[in-house]
Symmetry: D2
Subunit: 302 residues, 4 copies
């Protein structure tokens, strides 16, 4: 495994310098693009890694996975009345489809979907971002995980488009709490910082029928776990979910901080990190590394 | 396996009578809704079946799979300049997205995508529907497979929406041949009649790394085969591709004739048939049978 | 003129009871639908009226006209960089077009357009709703005109969709002030209460080359006045601007409070009021009365 | 009047060379852009003109006006079940709105609307383009008016987008005749060649309460005439109907051949011609000339 990671590292390194770091908030724009880390965690919790795999980065939309799991735990099947399970076919932050479909977001991984799920968790938890933080710490075996307040505040300041989505859902009766309150929680979760090693551990339950070795906890039932992986496979990678399935063939979720997590069911959880993004907002080197990894070992689920 | 199929048959039978047979052309509207067949083919070509599994039916959009394979064989990677690989998020026969995306259909399984692929095959074959018929006969080990000319002619007569799509693509320079010629081939392929057993055999290569036992032929490379399965998983089931992944977790393709094929990679190809359709146009009992099958054996790829 | 109004009153009265009072906020829902008033003001400021023409009602979107005039006065041609002058072809509160056109609203009379203009006036006035109130009082020769605070507060509470629009424009850089501040001003202006007689006087400058007899003030230049009337003619009547031009042929603006103002250039300003609305949100009896009026005297500008 | 036209000619001439001749078919692309003609016809039929006002050009979409009048004559109010009367807010050849609104085009002047009207006239006339040609000859007092067959054939060859629209309407049950037959008639009408003087005469009834001096014929009732002018005012100028109302303030209709007709109700019909088009497809010098004309005399209807 260590050899495999080195081979991939050598193959991918020449791409450093391509792509563009997210720059819609200053705190993310200042991240050095010359970073690359990769960690793989097997179902016994054993982690192999290479490069900047222990460097914490902003997990951003990867937090949507944890957000979704918390909502499934609490609301079960009923939550699907408020959010769909279909790929969207439109950019992750579009309001067009949301209007045509009367305020029901297409799936939990476009922004509108994640916001409605944050709204559910806001209703559930006394202190939503403490609930999330503790959950993630348990899953990652790392009690030090924290959110970056500067990032969270800066995202809140630039909240206009997400606020527009939340208000539009409120207009359709699909948003319970105060919009600004939910946005605070949402951005706080996006601003959590974790390393590849943290995230490979924290998402390992997805490769392990819902059981987290770190937390020694059945996070999801085996059925629910398959369902979450199915959602990741059809909707986890923004506008390139289809290409990612085509080239990589694994359930995955990316964030604009440059991280991508991927799942080889019953075998491995993977996290790759490199901040420069491709045109649709996924880590350019991350996608390349996962493509190489999948091709080399035939890990595609299909 | 035979026992499993019987258990499913018993579970599903009470649903007979629900749903609605496709009625946009008389030839399909007259099919009896009280039919149900299921066939499973393992990678050695062994078929187990139950119910009306040897009754031929109109394969309709399932032909898009064979259509795509023929185009991949001939055009390889270059074909993806003319058709995308992303889920569509809009009904299978919508022109809206086609206009916004300048005549490049989202994927090979919405109608516009299948039409552009038919256009490719029209350019390639001297006699496109003979090319298709012979291909399908080889894959199914059945030299009797034919298209129903009445159905094909009736579809051509009601071609308006498909003609609109083809002309819109032509307006964007993404259609080479005469629209009516391609529509004739396209409808002819849709009107091919096969039974569940035929289709389970004919799609068995998808479960067998691209190798067809019947034809003794490597139909696709193992890589291409994974890619076709990935496309089926993200886009094969009309507007419920996401729900189907969530509930069933297998690459699949449905047709308005009431057939659905599904793939358990490296293990089985499955075909189920029942003509009454659910709201999005997939066989109601077919989806129910595959859901039950997947749940009972944990066949989800995720 | 008095005879004409009586004839119209007799013709229209049987329609009382048709249509539906706006009910998205309680304060409007409680208005009695059995009201009808009509006032006509000639260019000397002479008013003829009938029915409930001196009953104050919520002017709602008719305030967009005054809002626009204040912005033209202050910003002149430069304001058209932030809002268009084309009919929209979509419902007045749709976000779809706003997203496709990058946050530039189609015209000043759809909600998004009125909000961006409120944002302009928010930047200009120390106390925007006092600025508006005083302006309207002058134009109407009525120092008693006030806004209904209950209505304004209730609209603010139900602000979700308008807030969504404002935030979406902010996301595109087309909104300067705090969203809630502007919404407060906007709803305050909508909640102004005036009678048909007040409004016929207050909009008389539109029929008088921009000169207000009441205020003894050139409110707009003759050129600007023609332009405002042109905008009213192409975009003033929500989704039935075209039908209204076809049937009535006069520049006009309606509000969900049941008022409609219309302009016979160089001759008359008209205001009609009846709270029950037709399907697109215009006063049902109001449209009928103006149709009758226009047909009887051949007042269409076309 | 002659002096006025000279003043405008002098003002406009420096713009020659700006804009771009329509080039989607060779026959139009070869037209010299250095042409400008203007003709004004008063309600007695007296024509004043300047520049290339007697040069025939391809009337293109101006034919939609005659097409509409023929349909009104035959079908009266019932025709509005098949075509709307609202501005579209989308490009003249878009299929998006047509799909969202189930195959009912927004108005008679977008392409889809003109096609459905051509379909009506196809059902009515034994020989539709002879019917049109004779009608136009009568209105223009010019028995020599003919269509350019090369242009018509070339348009038919490039019919893809218009064919897509027609088939989409057929799919919604809003198209009776064979698509290619109607397209032949439609393009034939677009390919009619007339001069500014011809068109000023031929559209003079629009300025004359529906009465044509040339034909000595009440072409439309006074009411219908106002309605046609209203439609021209709200929808006649492609995507700049609103700006044209704002700047010029007259009912008008443009064609990609470079012609624009405009109406001063009860006073004049105007035709201007200059082949180079602005970004939305209206004659660049034509719009400039009409703006100048309207400003100089205060001819805006508003």
């Amino acid at each position: 495994m260590a050899q495999l990671l080195e081979a991939i590292y050598d193959e991918i390194r020449p791409l450093l310098g391509q792509g563009k770091v997210a720059d819609y908030i200053p705190a993310l724009a200042s991240v050095s693009p010359h970073q690359f880390g990769l960690a793989i965690c097997d179902v016994n919790g054993e982690v192999t890694s290479i490069g900047d795999a222990s460097t914490p980065f902003s997990i951003q939309s990867i937090s949507k996975v944890f957000n979704l799991v918390l909502a499934i735990n609490h609301y079960g099947e009923t939550m699907w009345e408020r959010v769909g399970r279909e790929p969207s076919g439109l950019p992750f932050n579009s309001l067009v489809q949301l209007e045509y479909e009367n305020g029901i977001p297409r799936n939990p991984f476009i922004n509108a979907g994640a916001l409605v799920i944050s709204d559910m968790n806001e209703s559930r938890f006394a202190s939503p971002h403490i609930g999330m933080r503790d959950f993630v710490r348990r899953l990652a075996c790392n009690g030090e995980v924290v959110a970056n307040k500067t990032v969270a505040d800066s995202e809140f300041e630039h909240r206009a488009r997400n606020a527009a989505m939340a208000y539009l859902m409120k207009a359709y009766g699909n948003f319970e709490n105060d919009v600004d309150d939910v946005l605070h929680s949402y951005f706080h979760n996006c601003a959590i910082e974790m390393s590849c090693e943290d995230l490979a551990r924290a998402t390992n339950f997805l490769a392990n029928k819902g059981y987290s070795v770190c937390a020694d906890e059945q996070v999801l039932t085996a059925d629910q776990n398959r369902q979450v992986n199915a959602l990741l496979a059809t909707s986890g990678m923004y506008d390139e979910a289809g290409s990612f399935a085509f080239e990589v063939g694994l359930p995955g979720k990316s964030g604009v901080g440059g991280g991508i997590i991927a799942v080889v069911p019953q075998q491995f959880s993977i996290c790759v990190f490199s901040p420069a993004l491709n045109k649709v907002g996924n880590s350019l080197l991350g996608v390349a590394a996962l493509t190489s990894l999948s091709k080399r070992i035939g890990w595609s689920v299909y």
